[in-house]
Amino acid sequence: MTEKKPISSDDDVTIVPTGCCHDCGGRCVLKAHVKDGKIIRLETDNGEEPQIRACLRGRAYRQRVYSPDRLKYPLRRTGERGQGQFERISWDEALDIVASELVRIKETYGNSAILLAGGTGNQGMLHGVNPVGLMLLHFGGFTRTWGAASYEGALFASMATYGTISTGNTRDDLLNSRLIIMWGWNPANTIQDPGTSLHLAQAREKGIKIVAVDPRYTDSAATFAHQWIPIRPGTDTAMLIAMAYVIIVENLQDQAFIDKHTVGFDKYKDYVLGKEDGIAKTPQWAEAITTVPAEVIANLTREYATTKPAALIAGWGPARAAMGEQYCRAANVLTAMTGNIGIHGGYASGFMRAYSSRETRGPHGSGNPVEEGAPPRKDSLYKLRGGTNPNSARIHSAKIFDAILRGRAGGYPADIKMAYVVATNYINQNPNTRRGVEAFKSLEFIVVHEQLMTPTAKFGDIVLPVNTFMERSDIAPPWLGSPYYIYLNKAIDSLYESKSDLEICRELSKRLGIPQTLGDETEDELLRAIAATRGDIPDYEAMKRDGVLKIKTPEPIVSFKQQVEDPENNPFPTLSGKVEIYCEHLAEMNNPTIPPIPNYISHWENYDDPLVTKYPLQLLTTHYKTRAHSTWHNVPWMRELEPHSVWINTADAEARSIKDGDLVDVYNERGRIRIPAKVTERIMPGVINVSQGAWYEPDEKGVDHGGCANVLTNDEQSPGGAVPMNTALVQVELAPQG
C-alpha cells in the first residue's frame, strides 16, 4: 500500500502509520502527522480496500496524548488514598520502593498476596499487562481474577455449546444472509470489528431484513433495523425459549441438521413443551415476562425459521447479567435448531470469534506458581480447552473487592495485601465501586501504571507514568478476529518522564533479581520474533512499513463449515463431538442454576424481585460512543458530544417531575450518582441507562458527580461466570436543589 500523493505539502511533516489499541471493539489504522517531534494531526486508512477507518475515538487521540492531565513523572502519595495528593519523586526512588514492597509482601505473606489487577486497556502484545504478568511470574507468581466483565457469559455458553470460542463469521458474510437479528447488539457504537456497521448498511441496501431486539432504540436499531422489538432486560432467555417453542409446535426445525450435528434436542423439547416442569414455554408465557407481545415473538420465530440462511447475532450485553449464560445458550441452540451453523449467511452466535489471530489452544497450565496444584473450579468447563482457565486459585472479578476485604477467612483462596495495577481503571470498572474503594483502602501497598490520574490511580501509593501507543511500537491483533494486524509504529518520543510498561518492568526486574526475565531486545526485535511465530505474517517489513497487514481470504470466513460439510472427519470440539443442546459437562456440575439445557431462571434484581417496590427501575450500563470503557473519558473533543447522562423514558421522567437536562440522582443501597437526565423515547419504560466508563468523582457525602455506573452495579457473579453489569435495580429522583 502506497500513498498516492504526499499527504502534507509541508516537507518537514512525517506520516507515521500506527493504530489504535485500547479496549474498544475496533483496532483501526491511524496515520500520525509528525512535525518537529509533535503530532499535529491524524488521518486514518486511505489505502487499499477494505479500509480500516478509525472511529471518533481514534480521531480524537491527539487530545489524549497531549492532555494536560498526562502523568509526567513518578509520584508518591502524600494524602489519603483516593484524595489525589502526590509528590514528584525520581524513577530510581519510585522503582526502589515498588521493588522493596514486592519483596516485603512476598517474604511476609507469600506471592498469593500480590494481586495482578491487570486490565485490557492496552491491546498491544508488548505492553500493558503482558510484561507485568511475565515479571511477576518469574518473581514467584501472583493472584489473578477470572470472569471477563465484557464477555464471560457469552464465552461460557460458547464453550458449553460448541467447545470453542471460534464461532463467528467475518462481517462480509452478512451480505449472504436473508435475515439478520441484532439481539442486544449495537455495533454502531461498539464497533464490533471495523466494517461491521458498513456491512449492515450494505445488507439493508441489498434488501436483507434486519431486526433489532433491545431495550433501547440504539443507533444501530435506528440506522439498520426494519423492526425494533423492545425487550425487558434480564428476560431475553424467556423470549428465545419461546421461539424454540414456536419452532417445535409448528415443526419448523431443521430436523436433518439436528439429527446429524447436535445432541440433546429431545431433552430441550421436554423442557420447552413443559414436560419437565409443567410450564409450556409459549409466546404468551414469554410475553408476561418480556413484555414482547406473543404475536411478535411468534412472527419473528416464523421468519427466522423459514428464511434461510439467517443470522441471529446474540450480542454480549444481555449476557452481561445474572444468568447471562442462559441467554447465550438459548440463542446458540436456536441457531442449531434452524440449521444456521456452518453455512454462508447463517450464524452460530456463541463467542463469535471469526479469525483466530490470537486464539490459544494450549493446556490449562499458566506457569504461575501460585496456581500450581489448585484443582479446577467446580463451576468450570475444565474438560475443555480454549476457554477460561478453570484454576480455583483465581478469584471471580465481580468478587475481587470482597475477596480483598475478607480473604481466606471469607472462603477465598488468598489474603491479598498488595495490588499491582496496570492498564485498568480497576475500581471504576469492576462492579460496586464503593466497595472497591473500601477494598483498596485496606491494602498495604498499591502500585499503578497509568497515563492519566484516574479514580483508581488516586489510590496508588506509587504511580508510574506510562507512555501512550503513539510513543512506542507494538503489534495489535484485531478484536473479535477480522483478518488483519495493526502495526503500531512509534510516532513520537515518550512525553515527559513517561516510560513504556515494558521498560518499567525491565527496570523493576533488575531490582527484583530476575534481570533476564524480559530480556533487552528492542521493540523491533521482539515484534519481529512474534511475527515469525505466526503463520499469517509473511512479510514483517511490509507490515511495519504500512502499519497494517490485511490478510486476503478467498471467501468470507464461516465457522464450523468443515464440521457441517464433513462431520465424519471434523467433529465439533465438544466432548460429544456435536453441538451440545444438552451439555453433559454442565449436567455433571449438578447445579440447578447452571442447567445442562438452556433455562429461563429469574434472579436477584430482576424485574420481579420484591426489591422493585423500593427500586423500581432496571439499570443498563451500556458502552458509550465517546469512550472505550473508561478510556477517553477526559478528552474534551469527546466530552462535548452527547455529554454523559442517564437515559430515562418520558413516562418515567414525567412521573418523577424530571425534565430533559435536569440534574438527577440515581441510587440504590450501593451508592448514589448525580448526573443530568436525558429524557427520551429511545429507552423502554421501566429501564434506565447509565453508560459505563465515566470517572468516579465522589463528594464528601459519597455522592458520585462523575456518574460512574459501577457505583450502582452488584458485585455478585452469575453462576456461569457472567459479570452482572446489566442487572441492578435503582430509583431516580431530582437532585436536591442548591
Binding site: I7, R41, T44, L56, R59, A225, E681
Partner: protein, 188 residues
C-alpha cells in the same frame, strides 16, 4: 464555473461523529463552540414506534450564499473557480462589531465563532488545501460508513441523484445550497 458541493447518504449515517472529530483535529479546533461540521439528531415518534435520523451539517457552499450578501465588509466571498465560500478573517469585523450578520443569515448556521472577544468568523472551507492536493475533505475520508462525498455538484448529482431535501434539512431555492442527499424515509 464548477460549483463544488457535498453528498450525504442519510440512510447510512449512524451519528458517530467521526466526521466532526476528524474535522476538529485536522483544522486544529479546540473543543468549544466552533464546529465546522455538526451532526444533528432528528427523532420522531413515541415509544415504541420511533424513527431517528442524523444530519451531517457542514457549510453547504450555496450558489447564492446569504452570508456573502449579509457581510457588511465583503469578508466572505465565493471563489469564482469552484464556488467554495471562504472567509477572509483579516477583513471580518468580528462578532461583537457586526453582531454575526452572516450567522443570522444562514439557515444552517454554518458560520462559527470562537469564545474569544470579538471572534472572527470561521467555517468549513471544504478542506481547500486537501482538495488542491487531490485529496478528499477530511470528513469524507473519515466517514466509516462512506456516507459523505464531495466534488463538483453536477457530478455528485449524476452519481447519486438530485434529492435536495432530507430529514432535518429544507432546501432553499433562493440560496441554492450545494448539496445532494440520499434522504432517510421517516417510516421504517
Amino acid at each position: 464555473m464548477t460549483q463544488m458541493g457535498f453528498y450525504f447518504d442519510q440512510t447510512r449515517c449512524t451519528g458517530c461523529y467521526a466526521c466532526a472529530v476528524a474535522c476538529k483535529d485536522w483544522h486544529d479546533i479546540d473543543a468549544g463552540p466552533v464546529n465546522w461540521m455538526r451532526v444533528h439528531i432528528i427523532e420522531n415518534g413515541k415509544f415504541p414506534n420511533l424513527s431517528a435520523a442524523y444530519l451531517a451539517s457542514p457549510c453547504y457552499h450555496c450558489a447564492n450564499p446569504p452570508c456573502v450578501l449579509a457581510c457588511p465588509v465583503d469578508a466572505i466571498t465565493q471563489r469564482e473557480s469552484d464556488g467554495i465560500v471562504v472567509v477572509d478573517q483579516e477583513k471580518c469585523l468580528g462578532n461583537r462589531e457586526c453582531r454575526t450578520l452572516c450567522l443570522n443569515a444562514c439557515p444552517w448556521k454554518a458560520p462559527q465563532f470562537g469564545p474569544e472577544e470579538n471572534a472572527k468568523m470561521q467555517k468549513c472551507d471544504l478542506c481547500l488545501e486537501r482538495l488542491e492536493r487531490g485529496q478528499q475533505p477530511i470528513c469524507v475520508e473519515a466517514c466509516p460508513m462512506y456516507a459523505l462525498d464531495a466534488g463538483p455538484l453536477d457530478k455528485l448529482k449524476a452519481k447519486y441523484g438530485d434529492a435536495v431535501e432530507a430529514e432535518g434539512f429544507s432546501y432553499s431555492a433562493r440560496f441554492k445550497p450545494s448539496v445532494t442527499f440520499k434522504p432517510k424515509p421517516r417510516e421504517q
